[in-house]
Symmetry: D2
Subunit: 471 residues, 4 copies
Amino acid sequence: MKKLIKNGTIVTASDTYMADILIEDERISAIGKNLDAQGAEVVDAKGCYVFPGGIDPHTHLEMPFGGTVSKDDFETGTIAAAFGGTTTVIDFCLTSKGEPLQNAIDIWHKKSKDKSVLDYSFHLMISELNEDVLHQLPKVINEEGITSFKVFMAYKNVFQADDETLFRTLITAKELGGLVMVHAENGDVIDYLVKEALENGKTDPIYHALTRPPEIEGEATGRAAQLTGLAKSQLYVVHVSCAEAVQKIAEARNKGYDVWGETCPQYLMLDQSYLERPDFEGAKYVWSPPLREKWNQDVLWNALKNGQLQTLGSDQCSFDFKGQKELGRGDFSKIPNGGPMIEDRVSILFSEGVLKGRITLNQFVDIMSTRIAKLFGLYPKKGTVAVGADADLVIFDPTAERTISAKTHHMAVDYNAFEGMKVTGEAVSVLSRGEFVIRDKQFVGKPGSGNYIKRAKYNETLSSIDEKLPI
Amino acid sequence: MKKLIKNGTIVTASDTYMADILIEDERISAIGKNLDAQGAEVVDAKGCYVFPGGIDPHTHLEMPFGGTVSKDDFETGTIAAAFGGTTTVIDFCLTSKGEPLQNAIDIWHKKSKDKSVLDYSFHLMISELNEDVLHQLPKVINEEGITSFKVFMAYKNVFQADDETLFRTLITAKELGGLVMVHAENGDVIDYLVKEALENGKTDPIYHALTRPPEIEGEATGRAAQLTGLAKSQLYVVHVSCAEAVQKIAEARNKGYDVWGETCPQYLMLDQSYLERPDFEGAKYVWSPPLREKWNQDVLWNALKNGQLQTLGSDQCSFDFKGQKELGRGDFSKIPNGGPMIEDRVSILFSEGVLKGRITLNQFVDIMSTRIAKLFGLYPKKGTVAVGADADLVIFDPTAERTISAKTHHMAVDYNAFEGMKVTGEAVSVLSRGEFVIRDKQFVGKPGSGNYIKRAKYNETLSSIDEKLPI
Amino acid sequence: MKKLIKNGTIVTASDTYMADILIEDERISAIGKNLDAQGAEVVDAKGCYVFPGGIDPHTHLEMPFGGTVSKDDFETGTIAAAFGGTTTVIDFCLTSKGEPLQNAIDIWHKKSKDKSVLDYSFHLMISELNEDVLHQLPKVINEEGITSFKVFMAYKNVFQADDETLFRTLITAKELGGLVMVHAENGDVIDYLVKEALENGKTDPIYHALTRPPEIEGEATGRAAQLTGLAKSQLYVVHVSCAEAVQKIAEARNKGYDVWGETCPQYLMLDQSYLERPDFEGAKYVWSPPLREKWNQDVLWNALKNGQLQTLGSDQCSFDFKGQKELGRGDFSKIPNGGPMIEDRVSILFSEGVLKGRITLNQFVDIMSTRIAKLFGLYPKKGTVAVGADADLVIFDPTAERTISAKTHHMAVDYNAFEGMKVTGEAVSVLSRGEFVIRDKQFVGKPGSGNYIKRAKYNETLSSIDEKLPI
Amino acid sequence: MKKLIKNGTIVTASDTYMADILIEDERISAIGKNLDAQGAEVVDAKGCYVFPGGIDPHTHLEMPFGGTVSKDDFETGTIAAAFGGTTTVIDFCLTSKGEPLQNAIDIWHKKSKDKSVLDYSFHLMISELNEDVLHQLPKVINEEGITSFKVFMAYKNVFQADDETLFRTLITAKELGGLVMVHAENGDVIDYLVKEALENGKTDPIYHALTRPPEIEGEATGRAAQLTGLAKSQLYVVHVSCAEAVQKIAEARNKGYDVWGETCPQYLMLDQSYLERPDFEGAKYVWSPPLREKWNQDVLWNALKNGQLQTLGSDQCSFDFKGQKELGRGDFSKIPNGGPMIEDRVSILFSEGVLKGRITLNQFVDIMSTRIAKLFGLYPKKGTVAVGADADLVIFDPTAERTISAKTHHMAVDYNAFEGMKVTGEAVSVLSRGEFVIRDKQFVGKPGSGNYIKRAKYNETLSSIDEKLPI
Ligand SMILES: [Zn+2]
Ligand SMILES: [Zn+2]
Ligand SMILES: [Zn+2]
Ligand SMILES: [Zn+2]
Ligand SMILES: [Zn+2]
Ligand SMILES: [Zn+2]
Ligand SMILES: [Zn+2]
Ligand SMILES: [Zn+2]
């Protein structure tokens, strides 16, 4: 069935203009003035922007962590994402040493298949890289279309990989066409600082931040970048939280290294002082890396503006305050890390970034969608408003005002980190491959309607139709 | 009359996709699959890219310099530009101290009106900024649509402005909505070094380079950037030639200053050793700033890739070797500065940049067109392929090979700085507001058909039709 | 007459050890354990440090400025200096365009000859550098022993030299063996900002700081350093006040440029908020460059520790609050710039630097004496405790506590910028060429007893006796 | 017995002057003009410099490495050192995991006691830092006077410590008063690159360099510095070889971190091309870190000049070419790392540093002796020419010319890395605690005459006599 979106202002990563959009067979077939509406359902986008659906490159849905499981799963998580203007998520598939990779992938497929209301894909965590794992990787890339690999430099004795594993992953990714993602904190130092803090009776949430200082995020980021340059490979640093890390990424890029950086809404808007909130409420604000001193926020915004950082992920990993975050009462190291962030990622970037003049409207689209699609092999199927692309579209009212609150949000958890914050701009309707998921601010989608997307290799494109570019 | 460009691959600053383009009333009216061709002339772009016409932000056509006049005027210059895939030029209107600004502008209108085959606009040079000049500026901006102002930090006793003038210009531009452009070299030091070289009998072309070392380009660039930050204004550094200057621009941007940088094909491809060519041939390669040691080229390319530099200008200012460049025999300081560069700017960026993997195809479009349109108030009328934009389009065969030579180029001068260089990729046809200027590699345009374009203020848009964006 | 200083702990720029010092014929003749005291006056330094007398490289005694004259002259100024542990001052001899240099020097000899209680020398200000001035310089250097030249980049239309003059001075200094000193602030910008502030009724002392922001000190410092590198010459940046300038000096030194930096006690201890003191009291704290935000102090201290800055000058230029500073009521630009600083320079560096662990005891000696002697051609006659050196010595009680106050200081002015500040460490006795100037905290010297010192060229030594080093 | 050294020019880290030196009871008792020679043996130093004996902070005498043992032991090693003007060595005492520290120290005492002709001390290598080791450390520091601890970031599975050990060592050193030394290369990456090179048949000596690129020395240096800053501890980076590492040290110092750097003669004078010498001769030039591209030498020299690096060590670890270096034929990873460097360290710094104008004469003394004494708790007993200090003196003819050669050197190995290099300046006589070890270029010392020196804690002084400084 055809749809015609009329009277909207289309926004892409480079352009802003008024035109109508014709949708046929899940994709955009034409953009123009006065397109023929015959046979098409007409959707009025007057007064609204129409931009590509957000892509969340960093989610942890229904993920086991520290003896509990993150609350939002592929159903509640993608519904909340859709309300916020996101149409694709890439979730982290965790592996264990010794276990076949396919097992882990199968578990992730099972979690998502019947639940997701949006299209989705997976990154693969690499915990070791021996001959055995090496042999499994080509299949993961070619058959599963998983072309990005996450390495942890922190979480000692749990997820942490040593430098040889990181370096080997970089070399391998280069050869096979993958993108290496890194959680960059020095886990050895954190491990020491955490033990020492606990031994000294420092058990409150604020010590989560104080035992993971920015120096060691900067250190690990610089180390990963340096290894990437040496391997002539490619690196994507997830959840950059501070000036020290931004500087390392900038230095690497200035040397011509292929290094990219993502930040998250929490680092742009919240700061370390939140961890000091009384009645253990600080636990709500426990992320790794931790929230930083407030002045880092300006550095992060400027890095998005200047292109030193390129993307915004949510690092969605939600836990209830009651019963989950509370596991860390009396021992901050037992607080599950993470928070509910998938829903408001796009809104916050628009309200705080575009409307406050920190980034342009086109940068907004690039940061929350297009650049992510390009880096992770989803482009041009996803990530833009262009003829031939999937009709993953957001009709966005830039003047709507709302107040973020756990009372009204669509995530499954009992608090919102931005409780009470006013934002301007809201998704009115959201389409996934031409079908409404959100219509007039109501959920109209269906669990299981989302497709798993096999992604292209790094620096390759994922055409939705078989076309040949001139070169 | 309608045109339909079929089968091409459209390229914008962010997107690449196959679709047809419908042109009506000088502008793009639709982009789509299988658009209705009825009543339209069909143009086949099979195997070709279709991208927005290049915008050359930096030309000196028929400009007096050192007792002679640059050879290419608005006719030969724009014809050559069109052959190369450029559809708009912005030329520098020179002023003299004491003379009413309008006089200078009138002279420039006279030079261009009946000659230009492409749309064009002017920058205004600021030689002093007293009360009298200040009073004239609002009219220049609002009535003439001239919204960019050039200040020279070099050419002592000729064009050079002092720091107070530069600072005052920055303050004024901020208030009135203009963009300050700066030729950044320390003219005082150059003046000393040139005199001293000549006194010591160092008269060959190579001394042009040796008396304008990169240190003083870096110094002046840093100074201008620092003043910009202080004035909270905006700056565009023209013709960045070396690592020292790139670093200053990067530092300024990292501090959040609104500073932009342009480089030119000559700095990307040629180096200081060219100035040592025998038989005075070095004079052909005399630009200011001068060509640099070869290693700077990598820094410039990487800066384009990373966004530390954002645009490519030609600094077109051509002089015959015979009779013009020769004025400097026996005294390098009398060699007219500049060269023929308007024609091959786009080709070189494509062939050396995109095809050699230094920048992406979308960056190519941004660097040679879109970003320039946005910075100088031409967007979205110019600088993109989008519904509503002027149909300034290039149909570009990315596989065509040719050898650059003065024998075949279309500029009016007797040499080409890239003589013998092979490039891949060539404009097959070029349209200006929907009309062919170049068709199947033949000039089919008409002198005088180009329109003068009044530009929008800095950070404002120049809509080709009266539309209202949501915000 | 012989003197034997017993039981003291000798401190030099590199060593700390207990030994006695024998003084004969104005100089140190032996250092040892149990030296033969026969025929010598014995001075007990038990519990005290004995270090070389401070050298103040930056004073303006009896200097005309803005229609008034600095209050302390060579008599009160050098007496106060002696009380503080200083035994040599180098004062700035001002010149005027067109006037023979010798005239200016003669005036300075006249001011000082019968008044100074300490040895002294002169720097020469360079306001222009034409052929005429160039011809006079060799005599200034060779006959007057003036081997350092000051260039102002600020004070537009008064002292300010253009970049060509600065560059020419650097080239000339290199050839003749001089050291170029620079007041680094961009005078053009200041001039604009001051006019604009006054036009807007911003006349209070705080606007002195706000119209001379750190950006333009950093800019000018970087410019001077860059020109120095290009000229392969040598530069000494006076009164460095802020992080921006420190960074430029560090960058220059990292490139191998011969660039040195001086800071002053006021920048180490006071900050911009002083300028906001009520009842026009802010005027007491008007220096150029101005006092900065407090965080700069840490940067300056660390720069002294790391050797990015090397010396401490007083920039002594004192004006009474009553009658002099008050000239600027209603117009901050009329406040005479400068303050009384000659007396406490050494004490503050000891108390705040050494005792607070910011620098070592040996660095203290280097910073306030030895390095200055070496840079300005006074070494080894001045600046150290070594056999053969002039017996310019300070017997210093590191445990004495005192409170700085205008009531007790020895300068001729009616306020002290450090009023009420407690310092630990005080000069008990001070000898100039073996004679007491201060004895047991009493002045026992004689106006006119100080000698004018002809200094060695840059990087040459000024031996007090005709000795030949091996090479 | 008394000695009087007459007519020499004394040089310390800050001073240069002519005076005689009186030696009594192993120490300097007086320095002066015309000192009473009665009862003293007079030594004429006319035309010579007299400076403190060099201190070599980095030797590996008779050290097991890769199945062999370094050739020079405490006898041949210290004799060669003495010929070169060194009077104290600090050797690395290796430990093994699980073995009591005292065992290792006892072994080192046994190696040295009857052999050393010079005073000596030990650093202790830290391979792990568990509770058991922690309990042993106070004794090592307080009873053995070993106050510096070496941690290896390279040599995976052999010496390499993980980041937690490094961080714990930094914390512990801070508490106990020790200085942490670090071999900074990323051993994980090296391990990978070495295996990969060997698997690909890349077995020649040059691959030693290519598998340990400067990027990973820079990385490890930055990491160690960052951890030091975080621990508020102190760090000494041994054998800095390249610009990347210098930059990291400079950045750390600019942040106020207490980080120091040592380079070695090989990095100042030799370069990577030496490893390509035919007939396996490249093996003679195998150090870790490896020799670098030649341009790094300028950076290292400038770093010594500017104080970014502070000391020169030899990293003496000599192996015969025949029979030892040859172990690596066919497998570069089996080439014993190290070379003979103890003898010419001082000469090269003088000849190439002072005489070529790269550093001053006083810096020379500081770099090869005084600063080392201060950093490692030997000062003021060692490291200077001052009353009270040990009479460890070098009488040095700055005009003597010689050619370095294995034929004439005094080390026990069959080649010299500087074979054929001409140097100017040579130790004529060398005294250790007042006794000649070298006299008129002949060895006159005695194995076993050297004393083991218990060193002071970090930032404390080691007085040779019980004196109390004022504070
Ligand atoms: Zn993470
Ligand atoms: Zn995560
Ligand atoms: Zn120019
Ligand atoms: Zn130009
Ligand atoms: Zn000044
Ligand atoms: Zn001054
Ligand atoms: Zn080592
Ligand atoms: Zn070693």
